[in-house]
Amino acid sequence: MSAEYDIAETLDVKGASCPMPVVKTKGAIDDLAPGEILEVLATDAGSMSDIDGWAAGTEGVELVAQEEGDDVYKHYVRKTE
């Protein structure tokens, strides 16, 4: 069951561990236009807290949602500016 978001890009960081999910998310969001949403697929259990914290502490991004799937953690981040 996946939420309905208008996803501009999907970043697959499955297998990567700290700090790469956050670092690669930052790189991918830089390539988006304001308003667009990035989907991040990760297997790192720490990514739930890390991407939440990163989005809260970083200007120009907003965490739209996070979902914990069977094996994959899904993060939806909007670029706001």
């Binding site: 297998g15 700090p19 670092v23 930052k26 990163w54 970083t58």
Partner: protein
């Protein structure tokens, strides 16, 4: 000789214009002092060159860059090994002096044991898909992290500047690091 204090009472109260000028001056100074001088900054001093101690500064540096921090990492003494392109790929784990190692110190001190524990750790890193030191350095450089190699240590170790990763800043010393620390929101010694 008069016992009157000569200064204070003879001064006329400041005029309205003088007060206004003084207020302007203070407001300007306040604005300057509180101005957000742009980006957040982090300064890390990396002093250790074992495999385990190479990770924390690099992980924090790349993560801070992802948060939008201007990051400088000043590498001195054994921390310089992390920036040495060849030596950074062969950083060792010490099996002695670490009570979490599965072998007692008396055994850990035997010749070759550091190689064994390093291999063990390298295998864990590979199995766990943990980024390598080289990957973290390349990623950090791409994200704009400034890696500084302490000139005194370069000279001490007899390294050449071209032995470091491309993009590493050389020719810097403690004063540079201190200036970075003074300007930084976060300062760490690792």
């Amino acid at each position: 000789m008069s016992t009157d204090t000569p200064d204070a009472p003879t001064d006329d109260p400041p005029s309205r214009a003088e007060l206004a000028a003084r207020v302007d001056e203070l407001e300007e100074a306040l604005a300057e002092a509180t101005a957000d001088d742009g980006d957040k900054k982090m300064s890390i001093i990396a002093t250790k060159g074992t495999l385990d101690m190479a990770y924390p500064p690099l992980i924090l540096a790349s993560t801070a860059a992802a948060f939008g921090y201007d990051v400088t990492v000043f590498h001195t003494f054994w921390g310089l090994e992390i920036l040495h392109e060849e030596r950074s790929k062969n950083l060792k784990l010490s099996s002695v002096g670490n009570p979490n190692m599965p072998v007692p110190n008396a055994v850990a001190a035997l010749p070759g044991m550091d190689r064994v524990t390093t291999k063990m750790m390298e295998k864990k890193i590979a199995d766990n898909d943990t980024a390598t030191i080289e990957e973290l350095i390349e990623t950090s450089l791409e994200m704009g992290v400034e890696f500084q190699a302490c000139q005194m240590t370069i000279d001490l170790m007899g390294y050449d500047e071209d032995e470091f990763y491309d993009g590493v800043t050389t020719g810097v010393g403690a004063a540079t690091a201190l200036q970075d620390m003074a300007d930084a929101d976060i300062q760490l010694l690792v």
